[in-house]
Symmetry: D5
Subunit: 96 residues, 10 copies
């Protein structure tokens, strides 16, 4: 089941550089791991913003929340979730 | 080059049923033709709304506008365009 | 799986009275049928507004959309969907 | 009498970890106690957000405010209250 | 129990003059009747707008909705309800 | 002359407890003094919020501002002023 | 006593040309009459919009409303009122 | 050439009292000097807010910005500029 | 003197096709004439919208309004004006 | 390919003066370098605000983001990107 997730990142200026680097490294590993498993279907950067648009493929709302709330950047993100479904005009097998 | 396009549809109540059916049939054919060509990469329905989230892969802003403004439903849509690019954490070959 | 659905109704003034009455009767029957099946878990009127807050229990996003878009009042509603999940402090068996 | 309450939590980063843990433990106990009494009818987590949707069953506006303003997390919450009532299409005995 | 109610009126231009006059007369009588009973505690015009701020004293959310939805102008109003309670600094006996 | 005043209070967390207690005590005394004089006609708490709705009866805009800007909590409030007048349907002598 | 009034005009397309011309002529005469009396202190057009910013000098909220609600264009305007007073840095005799 | 300028002031709490007093004194002198020159045509306080509405008469956009950005309070203000022109109904010689 | 002008076009569906074509032809001629004179410095289409961003170079606010309000599409546009000036980092001779 | 970019700058008060001066000098050099290359086509200051409107001419979304995210002021800016294209009424060779 697919969800559209918009993630807007605001890292506070006073976060120590090392802590920041560590969080970003863990965020990247976490995201790539989920991409490899097929759960995090797509991730795109929004031009001009420290933000991304993602498509997640999960079992249900609970799994979606479990994944998002475990993001290393979660405390510094504003997240907007939009539930998606197959569009009647879609022709790609994986658009649902 | 990828763009995130949100299309919100409001068909006026007084549009004759036949004209409406004709527009919807042409919209579907137009969208599926572009999907087959790989230009309209993804299309998803938004749960509970007469709206969709789409990803288009076009040469430039001009081609994007030419495609969107030629949509049979264009006069009845509120469209929001967000330019995307490859995310540094993306691993899929086709996420850019 | 639970969803919070806010439905705001605006019936156009020029809808013939008979058509209006027919839609409202079908809307009520449709809602009560789904309530009896346990799909439409809760429905409450919002004080001072022609609007309701509902909790739906469905299999997935697709079933949610299928149910909402089949509402007789769907063309006259502004619908907002919020995906829910069990709260870690919940104690009721049916709050998920 | 039922009220729809949306609670959006923003705990400041500089709150000492111990104070934070203590507040969260007291919040959970407080909420579960009121759930057991039947006052806090429902509580759901909103997917992707540190927020919840709750239904409270209280005597009047004053009792509602007394309960909400005594929440251990109250200073860190943005709360929105919506008064509810029985919907004319409701069939469940406890939807009012 | 007190509620703050903001009523914003937009009467459509094509409402026949007679129907309009009739609705306004019934609205006035209805409001004054409830004022005499003490239910509609206060009503003030907002300067420069076809709108009013009112304070209603009712038994519960259900009675509030029953009163508001029976307003002759209800179909032409945007209504916002805010539940009130006695302020800890209030000294007037009737501010609750 | 009546004004509707909405006061939304946000006291910063780092305000010393003593200073906070002192400000709140002075705010209460100031408000009650003006209530006794009949200037601060009504004050109600908004359910679930650290906010109040008030009705002030003053000579003119200047007196209103003099009173509001002298509130001990003024630096910590977001204030919205709405000028009111007698509603043509009002029957109470003191609704103007 | 001064008020800042923003008037945004939207005349419906289907208003007969003659009625429109008549309303505009009466609006102009009405405004100029009040300007001559010193009540309508200032009126400026907003660049690029069918809107104006005005300063009115009236006895009280009631007189302000009486004047605004009698504007021939009142049914076609969105009006926003802001109560003003003398600024402590003002030096002009007539800025209050 | 006239501009409508809305200035909303938010002085941070941690600004040292002396610095604050100095800024306010310089702001007042600066404003009064421009008022005497006829550049700052009007200034009014907004009731209940630390904000003002001003009318400036300058040569062009560049002079307007030079004046506003040199305000001692500029770093603590949210400024909104609206270009004005003579209204066709204006009768005062100085309303343009 | 430069102004940034955003023009959002909404032509009503019931405008006769001939009238529409005539307005569009006159709009184009009007715009191109002003472009040739150097007054309408730039005009760009916004991707996915029936809207444009323009830069106009005029003598003052009054000339700007005279030009905009004479646009054949003016009654069907929502226009937003932003006054511009030379940026301190600009190097192009014509960016002011 | 052209993009409209609005940049709103908010430099935190506690940024050391030297760091601030250094960032501003690098920002200016960076912008002027891109202007000389023809990439940063236009830059204008918005009157009364610490903000600018710019037109960038880049190969694609990715280059746009690479340029914007490398701005020395990027961490202190709110950036809004709007993709542009040649307007059908444009006559200037470089308006696309």
């Amino acid at each position: 089941m697919l969800y559209h997730v918009f993630m807007d990142v605001k890292i506070p200026r006073d976060l120590p550089a090392e802590e920041r680097a560590d969080i970003l490294a863990r965020e990247k590993a976490y995201s790539q791991d989920l991409q490899r498993q097929g759960t995090w279907r797509h991730i795109w950067r929004v031009a001009g913003q420290y933000a991304n648009v993602s498509i997640l493929d999960v079992r249900d709302n609970a799994e979606l929340h479990q994944i998002l709330s475990a993001l290393p950047l979660f405390p510094f993100m504003q997240i907007t979730v939009t539930p998606l479904l197959r569009h009647p005009s879609a022709i790609r097998g994986d658009d649902s």
